[in-house]
């Protein structure tokens, strides 16, 4: 499905993989995560094969993928449990820190996923991804099912997380506005290849006013054209 694909992601950057359904963007993300093995080619992080460096990655799924029988607190703690992190103090402070970053109030920490809204579930999912302090966040259309208002709020949350922690992010989306708002570069994908790599001209920090600026609309149009061009 993926063919002749080469992508270098500089440390601390957000790169969006943009393209229509079935173009291979989610597959690429899964290959990067080591969840789908590549028949040919390699994925390396600082020169190290991804299979050796998986602990430096975290994946945010399209659905929040919270374990429904666990509370938010227990869901976010899960990676620590699997990695046999024993220090209770470290775990508690990391959990509180991550839940605060994503905007969880303490009285929501012990709720089960079914008691949360879609946006809250996704916040918990992001907190779970952050808990192990990964260098690289891989996000597979995490906000696709959310309404526009919630989507833009969570976009701001992601920008804040990157600004505070200098994490690298690979972000899969089919939403042009989201890709432009979030990323430094947009890899436009078509039929399993990267058709074009577009640099986004806006500087950080970005705020929601940028969305209504004329230059944002103009650049949106440019990306949109590139996307249609790639499909021809």
């Amino acid at each position: 499905m993926l063919d002749g694909l080469n992508l270098e992601v500089p440390q601390g950057q957000i790169i969006s993989l943009l393209g229509p359904s079935g173009c291979g963007k989610s597959t690429l993300l899964r290959v990067v995560a080591g969840l789908t093995p590549a028949k040919h080619g390699t994925v390396s992080i600082h020169g190290e094969d991804v299979s050796q460096a998986r602990s430096r990655l975290a994946f945010v799924f399209q659905e929040a993928a919270l374990l429904p029988w666990r509370t938010v607190w227990q869901n976010v703690r899960l990676p620590f449990e699997i990695r046999n992190q024993k220090s209770r103090k470290t775990i508690e402070s990391a959990l509180k820190h991550c839940l605060e970053i994503v905007g969880f109030q303490p009285n929501d920490w012990h709720k089960k996923p079914s008691q949360l809204s879609g946006g809250m579930k996704m916040r918990a999912s992001i907190a779970r991804a952050l808990i192990t302090d990964p260098e690289i966040l891989l996000l597979d259309e995490p906000f696709a099912a959310l309404d526009d208002m919630l989507r833009s709020r969570l976009n701001d949350l992601l920008l804040r997380i990157v600004a505070e922690s200098q994490r690298t992010m690979l972000f899969v989306t089919h939403n042009i506005g989201e890709a432009v708002y979030l990323s430094q570069s947009i890899a436009i994908m078509s039929r399993g290849r990267i058709a074009e790599l577009v640099e986004v001209p806006f500087t950080y920090p970005r705020s929601s006013e940028l969305r209504s600026a004329p230059e944002f609309a103009a650049f949106y149009g440019r990306v949109s054209e590139a996307l249609y061009r790639s499909e021809r």
Partner: protein, 273 residues
């Protein structure tokens, strides 16, 4: 708005009442037809007693029936517990290897299809005529729904959840304990709902074979004694008692299951049906 609410409440109350009233109505119609049939065709009591005679006989032998029901209930509960435990362990083994599943699943189906009446005498010989044999028959009859539902719960895991565990490099054991087993709890509850009735049937079938030894006095033994003495009203009363026992166990498991599912599955985002 208040009017709509009161209408809705009234219709909910009506629906609840219907759930109780409808089966009672059916029972009354059935009993009346039965009575009419016996009177109309002058059927002798030794062939088919009147429904009232059956109820009277149940009342007369109430202590004997209660004691026998208690013995049968213990055997059925032990059989159900054994099938829940053994069935879950088998399901866990099945979930761990496709090879084990392929090799052993036909034998599990054998448990479902084997005529238990045919092998019960063998079980009596192997395990001795007593509680152990009755529990064994009850367990064999009720284990299949547990194995089938729990295996299905252990294997039907959300791909995202599996990927989440793979990303964390979880061991097979961690994936089993922290993901597969909790996901299979609703399957276990559903399996128990089906199996509880079967466990009672199994216990009574077992008792029918144990009865001849005199080492045991459950409902099955009472049935054999009544049949031998041609006390048909008493026999039918005993059959009714065993049916009530099955219903009682079913209602209890249904209630406990819905409590567990409400805590585990409804809160957990599954539908508890």
């Amino acid at each position: 708005m208040a009017e709509i609410d009161s209408h809705r409440n009234a219709s909910v109350r009506g629906a609840r009442l219907a759930v109780i009233a409808a089966p009672i109505l059916v029972f009354i119609i059935f009993a009346l037809s039965w009575h009419a049939l016996v009177v109309l065709f002058k059927i002798p009591a030794v062939i088919l007693p009147k429904p009232l005679d059956v109820l009277t006989s149940m009342w007369t032998q109430r202590w004997e029936l209660l004691r026998a029901s208690w013995v049968t209930l213990q055997a059925a509960l032990l059989g159900l517990a054994a099938s829940a435990l053994i069935g879950s362990v088998i399901a866990v083994l099945f979930s761990q290897s496709r090879w084990i599943r392929t090799a052993f699943y036909p034998y599990v189906i054998f448990l479902q299809t084997v005529p238990i009446v045919a092998i019960a005498p063998l079980l009596m010989i192997w395990s001795g005529p007593g509680l152990r044999a009755v529990v064994l028959v009850s367990c064999i009859i009720s284990i299949f729904p547990i194995i089938s539902n729990v295996t299905s719960g252990l294997l039907s895991i959300d791909q995202n959840h599996l990927d989440l565990f793979r990303m964390q490099e979880a061991s097979r054991w961690q994936t089993l304990v922290k993901l597969r087993i909790p996901s299979a709890i609703p399957g276990l509850v559903l399996g128990l709902r089906v199996s509880c009735g079967l466990a009672v049937i199994g216990a009574i079938v077992g008792e029918l074979f144990v009865a001849s030894s005199g080492a045991y006095d459950g409902l099955g033994m009472v049935m054999m004694a009544k049949q031998a003495n041609l006390k048909i009203a008493d026999l039918m009363g005993t059959i009714l008692a065993s049916t009530c026992l099955g219903i009682l166990l079913f209602v209890a498991v249904q209630f406990l299951g819905s409590v567990v599912l409400r805590r585990w599955t409804k809160d957990a985002g599954f539908e508890s049906t």
